[in-house]
Structures are given as structure tokens and as C-alpha cells.
Amino acid sequence: MSSSGPSSRLSAAQLEQRLDDALLASSSHRSVAKLARDLEYLPRERQDLVLHWAEVCTQTNAAIGDLVASLAPRALVLLDAAAFEAWVLAALDRYDRHGARAAMESLRDVAGFRAARDDTRDVALATVEGRLGRFVRGLSGRTLRIRAGAAAWTDTETIHLPARLGVLSDAGANRALYRAMTALLWAQARFGTFNADLEAAVDAWPQRERALAWLAALETVRLEACIARELPGLAREMAGLRGPWPSELTSVVDRLGAPSASVADSLALLSEYMAGEAHPPVLVHAGTLDPAAARRVRAQRIGRETEVLRHALGAWKAAPGRRPAESSSWEATLADDAGPAEFRIEGKLVALPEEARAAAQSLVQDLGEIPPEALAPAGPGAWKPTDRQGEGAHYVATRPPDHYYDEWDFHRNAHRRGWCHLYENDLPAGDAGFVREVSQRHAALIRRIRRRFEALRGEDRVLGRQLDGEELDVDAAVEAVCDRAAGSEPSSRLFARRVRCERSLAALFMVDMSGSTQGWVNDAEREALVMLCEAIETLGDAYAIYGFSGWTRTRCDIYRIKGFGERYGDAVRGRISAIAAKDYTRMGVAIRHLTRLLVAQPARHRLLVSLSDGRPDDFGDEYRGQYGVEDTRRALLEARAQGVRSYCVTIDRHGADYLRHMYGPARYTVLDDVRKLPLKLADIYRRMSS
């Protein structure tokens, strides 16, 4: 800040002087004098605040500085210091993006700014959904979907939460509240709220709604205690959010908090409360109960998991060389809580497939044990996975797909198996004239890129005169002998070591051929590829180029432009010329397929570089928006798990914020200007491969 001196208030005269300096004397004297009088009675920190920001703004734009100063007395009535700063910064930001007029409009609307800022204590579910999903995944090991709804409740597979939360005073607290609500709903399924016939219990009362609300409150007391035993940190946070228990509930905290308490205790207490008149208290973090929905979903799941488990046990038993064991000697235990279930047969631990272990874990969470019928091994073929695939749009294909790929459905938090139908196509060659033209037009640039790339080229070399190595360096050894004979000290660097400069890299470039690339994006992609090919040829790395496009999940097309084994000759040049805008961008399946091609390459390092413009998108509403973003993210994660490094280049002038999330598992670059693509691409490749 520009002020020094005593922290006592500045007088009108001093203020006038300071304002004159700060505002570059751009305002009329009369207005400055008036402003100084308005500011005279503000505390010193406020005076400094105004002077500081007026000066800062003036450096950007004198009119804005003026306006900030003149609006300040009124703004400071509505805004505290932090809000004042935010108000100014928002205006400067608008200035940068939209110019002075927009900035001044934004400054004048002090009341609007204040209202919007108050709203910031609200948290939208959409902004925390992913995080809550991962959090419960961690807690439960079972996938629970998160959905927006009017109230907070769960059917034990989906957790419904309000779309916005603003009950608490700031955004951090509201986020914590989301977490607490989620955890309590998870706890309903985990700690057996639905292990009793709740429907019968509440239907017994004429005031059914009141009974349900009481039951929800009592269960909240019990579940918080369960959580406190396993997750004390979380329970502390919950207690902080809700404050002390309301007086109606304090008498039951001990009973429901006992480790042995179950939903039966809550039901017993329910009768007592219903006999009285009191209304159930409102608990900020408690959800509501829908016993009927929970029963349906839970029964289905138990049925399903029981069959999975029986099937797995059947398969285990039927494996060759197995002595038939009596199923009475089968025993399953759950270590303590979220841990994996363990199976013992005649006292011996047996390893069941992942899927069966998950089913067992899920059963134990629902029932507290594995029901005996689930331990009766099924005969062969007794169970078939139900085909739950829905129907997408149909495309009349002339041949069966070459591959089927899974797709990630974030609504379900699971893959849709074999969902995408992938067709491999050869791109028919166009005329190679385009490539020739580009190579000529950019000859100088290509030469430059090539020279840079040549520096990367490596060969196996033998380094002599090393301290250590697999072979003796004969020259050095002879010299050492001579040195010694001559009485001087011999060098101890007597070894030769072979260093591998072999690059052993396979790179695959994946090019967006969706309709939106029509025009200059497409041209830039093709130009970039030409330069890249010229450059990589000097390195001798294995590389391939594929295009992708699609029309719904039943028609995902991959176009080969250059295969790994192929030479960069006229055929390839012709195909690069023929790259054209086609349909839509279903990106996940393309990443999965090309990852598979890459993984088959005998190289030490694998690199997948994608070129696209903007958001993944497909015909129909399904892939558009978050679904496509999540699927792409997932596909990149899968690629990484297979040892493929990805780099995503996006041409997107809107600089959207979903990119960080979508490309999180990969590295990425956003280009606002498509003309930068050719150089950028060569550069990325150089950096990633050296």
C-alpha cells in the first residue's frame, strides 16, 4: 500500500492530496474535494484500502480508477474489506476481457455484486459430486451413485442429495455438510437400517409421516455412534455441524450409542416417542427414509450377489483336482468392516475371484453375515449375468464390428460392458499434392524442426575410461600399466560401459475427424501431421497416425492413416491429404482402441498424443456433457494403467474448465490459435521423448 505514517485517520485535506496523486489528477478538482469529504470519516484502514485500489485501477485505466474512488463510500456500506477487493478485482477482470465499458457497468452494480457474493455460501452438488462419489467409494468399497433430488435419502444403491446446499453460513461448511449427509446415508446401508421391516413398523401408526421422521432422527443418533467407532474424525465433524443433540433426543443417546444397538432399538424407542405428542426435531445433516424403495433395491441386490457368490463357489468346487467339501464346512468371515471378506473351507483360506469377494462384502454389509443359501455352490450354468444393456440409436452396418469396447458410465459409476462397436477402416488415399504443397511452403520450418530432432537421435555407444563398467577398456589398461612402469600414478578409469541410447519409443497420434473440425482446424491438423512426420522420420521412432470419428455407440470409426509398420511414403501422404471432417467425437472408445494398438508395440515407452477440438460429443444427448468428459477421463486413466503416457492437445478458444478434470490423468495443452498447432505438436513430441 502506498500509505505510511501514523495510522490515525486522514483529514479531508490530506485525502484530497493523496487522491490527486492516486488519480493522476484526471478528475475535476470539485469531485476530488467532495470525495475527500466523503472518505474523511472512514476508519484509516478503509481509507488506505480505497486509496490503494484507486491507484491500482488508475494504472490500468484512469476512468476506472476514478469510478472506484467515487463509488467507494457507497460500496463500503455494502461490502466488507474482502468483498470490496473482490468487487474491484472482478471489474478489472472484466476490463481485461471485455473492455472499459463492461468494467464500469460491473462496478456500478454494487448491490448486484453483494447479492451474488452472498450466494457463494451456496454449494452446488454438481461441484462436489465427484468428490463425494470417491469419498463413499473409499468408505464402502461398493459403488454408490450420487444423484440430485429434492431431499437427502438413499435406496441403498443411489444416494440422493439436494442439488444445492446453503443452510450453513459459508461454502466450506456447506461442503462439509454434503459430506456428512453422504456418510450418514452410506451408514444407513452399512449399519443395517434396512435390516428390519421398516414399512410394517411405520404403517402401524396413523401418523405415518411423523413416525418416519422420528425413526430417521433416532437412526441418525445410532448411526453417528457407529461412525464414531470406525471413523472418529468424520464423527467429530458431524457433531460440529449439527451442534448438541436436541433435548428430545438426549435421553436416548446412550442407549442408541451402545455398540450392540441395532435398528431394533430405534424401533422400540419409536413406540415410546409416538405415544407422546412431541414433533421430531430437525437435524441439519439427517436424511429422510424411504423404506419401500430401499427394500426393493436391497432385495434385488441380495438376490444378485447371492447368485454371484454361489456361482463362484460352484466354479471353485468344480475345478479339477478339488476334493468335494461339504458345504457345511464352508465359512465366510468379514475381517472387521470395509475390509474384504475371507472364505475358509474346512478351515483353509481360499481365494475367490474379485467379483465374488465384492459380492460377499456387499452381502455382509446388507445382512451382517453371508446367508447360508449364498454358500451353497451353484451347479454349472445355474447363473448367467443378466444382460442389462439398453438400446442406443441404431446404425445400419454392413459388417459386424471389429471390436467391442467398454464405456464408463458415470451415472452408474461403472463400465457398460461391450458398449461401443468399433470399426477399423483404411482411409482412402487422396492426392498427395497437399502434402507436397505444405512441405514446400514450410520448408524452412521443417528444416528447423528436423535439426532439433536430430539432436535427440541416439545410438548404442561404448563409453571408455569409466570408473566402472562391464568390460575392461584395453587402451586405458595399457596406459595404466605404462604409467605405473614409469613411476607415475595410474588412472583408475579403466572400464568401458555400453550405454543404451536406443530410444525405444512408440508414439501414436490420434486425430479428431469430427464434423466440428471442418475448415481451418482440419487444415491445421493436416499441416501439423506433415511436419511431424518429416521430423520423426529423422529419429526413426515407431509412430502411427489414426483418425477417429463416430455416430453413436454402435458406429465408432477408426481410420488408419499410417500404421506402425508403414513407411512414410506416397500412400501415407495421400491419406494425410484425405483427412476430412466426418461425424462426432466419441473419444473414450478411440483412446481405448488406440491404447490397445500401442500396447502391442515392442517399445519401452509408449506415447499417445490426441488432437481434438473441444468437448467430446456424440449424436444424441447421451455422450454430450459430463458423460463424455467422464468417459474420456476414465479411458485416459486406463491407458496410464497400461503404461501409456498421454498428451492431449485441444484447440478450444473457450478455454473451458472441464479440461483440467478430463485430462487430469494426462498432460495437456490448450491452443487458442490453431495456427500454433504444427510447431506446438513437434515441440511436445520433442519434450515428451527426450
Binding site: R131, R134, G138, L139, R179, L231, L349, E470, L472, G643
Partner: protein, 273 residues
């Protein structure tokens, strides 16, 4: 000159005097002893930090044989394993590599993370890992026959799905394979308490945290927290760090760089402690 007339240095190997702490999990000790008795090589499969190295140390002590451990890396050459010539005075001298030394001494040779080594190194272990039980020291033209007590043990983490990190069938089919995994909660808590020097209640919470992170495997995490990480967190707590700080550093940050994932891990840490 015959190989034995060459001047040769073989490191002397000793057996471990003190019993290393190892918590038996299933029947791995008996299986290993049986394999040792039948002179069969052993492959230990399992995720990182689940006790494979500790197990081999313990078995070496139990069988009273010296242990030679080689951590394989992608520049490990056959010379690094078998040996090389050095200059001494006017002539050369041969120094046995760790594998050769182990074979001569009838020790247990443990090649940790074998998939990391260069492919050609597997060639020298093949004849050692089948009924021939010989090591071919090519540069000396010598064939070293392994004594009864020599044993080859290799380890491998199948969690890396990368094709680069796969064991060739011709290699893996020479070995008796023992499966390792993180022990069940009660045992793991015992290990964490003893190794980390913390109370049982703290160890239980750490194990709880470990399980929560393992639930995230494949959901953005390549691997959940290993027993080793939990032991590290315990040691930090034992050294006076607050549990949340210790877990954030030893577990959450160690598992991921993805900001979204570390946020989630931090939330789980705060839920448990």
C-alpha cells in the same frame, strides 16, 4: 590357464544372526521350506510393500543360509549379476557378481522386482532355475554348479498392468509361485504396531485407513496404501507427529499427485483420525 587358476575375488557371505521380525500370514513358511528342501526356485508375487523382502530375510535366517539381495533396475546387466574383471597390478582379477557369489556359497539369492531388469539377464537365471542348477560364467568359460543349499528367489508385482512389466512364461514356469497380499486387518494392525512402534488402537486406525484407500484402487489410484506406507505413518506418529499430518505425508501424498485424488485421500485421513 584354467578358470580356477585365475585370481578371483569372491565376497564372503554370512548368515544373519538375529531373527528378523516376520509375521506369518498363511502357509508361506511351510511352502518355502518345502521348496528349499526340494531345491526348487521360488517366485513371490504380490503388491508393493506387503512383506516379500522381509519374508525372504526371515526365511534365510530360519534356514540359516546367507542371503544375497539384488534390487533389479532397468540398467542391470548380466555383468552386474555374474561378475567382471578388474585391474590389479600388472594383471587382471576376476570379481564375482552377487549371483555368482551366492551360487558358490550356497546362499539364497533374491532378485527383487525381476521384471525391471534388462531382458538378457533372464538368460543367465534360466539354467539355474531348472533341474540343471548351473550358472554359466561366460567370460571365464566357467560353469558353476550350484550346491544343495543354493536357492533362487525372485519377486514380481502383478499389479503393474503394463506389458513392459510382464514375466515371460518361460521364466515364470520355472518357479514355485507364492501369492502375497496385504494381511487381514488384525494381523496387519499387529505388524503396524510392532514395526511402527505405536499402540494397538493407533495401528488399527491406520489399517482402517489403508483399507479405505484400497477401496479406491482402479478408481483413480493404481494401488492402495501398502503395509509399508502404514508402517511409515506409524513411525512418524511414534516420532511425535500428529496423526493427520503423518498420514497426509506418508500415505495421501505418497499415493497420488492428482489433486482430485489427494483431496479425497485427505478427506479419508480426516475421517479416520
Amino acid at each position: 590357464m584354467s578358470p580356477t587358476e585365475l585370481r578371483t575375488i569372491t565376497p564372503t557371505l554370512e548368515t544373519q544372526a538375529d531373527e528378523p521380525y516376520y509375521q506369518q500370514v498363511a502357509d508361506e513358511v511351510a511352502l518355502f521350506e518345502a521348496a528349499a528342501a526340494r531345491r526348487l526356485p521360488v517366485l513371490l508375487k504380490g503388491p508393493t510393500g506387503c512383506g516379500k523382502t522381509r519374508f525372504v530375510e526371515y526365511m534365510a535366517w530360519r534356514l540359516q543360509r546367507p542371503l544375497v539381495t539384488v534390487a533389479c533396475h532397468d540398467d542391470l546387466t548380466t555383468a552386474d549379476l555374474v561378475g567382471r574383471y578388474l585391474i590389479a597390478g600388472e594383471g587382471t582379477i576376476w570379481v564375482d557378481g552377487p549371483l555368482t557369489a551366492a551360487v558358490r556359497a550356497g546362499a539364497i539369492c533374491y532378485l527383487d522386482e525381476i521384471v525391471e531388469a534388462r531382458k538378457d539377464t533372464t538368460v543367465v537365471i534360466h539354467p539355474l532355475a531348472d533341474s540343471r542348477r548351473v550358472l554359466c560364467v561366460e567370460k571365464r568359460g566357467e560353469l558353476v554348479r550350484a550346491p544343495e543349499s543354493f536357492m533362487l528367489v525372485i519377486s514380481y508385482n502383478p499389479g503393474y498392468q503394463s506389458v513392459l512389466k510382464e514375466i515371460k512364461p518361460s521364466t515364470r514356469q520355472r518357479f514355485v509361485a507364492l501369492d502375497f497380499d496385504y494381511p487381514e486387518a488384525a494381523l496387519e494392525a499387529r505388524i503396524v504396531a510392532i514395526e511402527g512402534g505405536v499402540e494397538a488402537s493407533v495401528a488399527q486406525r491406520l489399517v482402517k485407513l489403508g483399507q479405505l484407500t484400497r477401496n479406491l484402487k482402479g478408481e483413480g489410484l493404481d494401488e492402495g496404501a501398502s503395509t509399508r506406507l502404514l508402517v511409515h505413518a506409524a513411525q512418524l506418529i511414534g516420532a511425535g507427529m500428529a496423526p493427520r499430518t503423518a498420514c497426509t505425508a506418508a500415505v495421501a501424498r505418497a499415493l497420488s499427485d492428482d489433486p482430485e485424488m489427494t483431496d479425497t485421500l485427505d478427506e479419508l485421513v480426516r475421517a479416520v483420525f
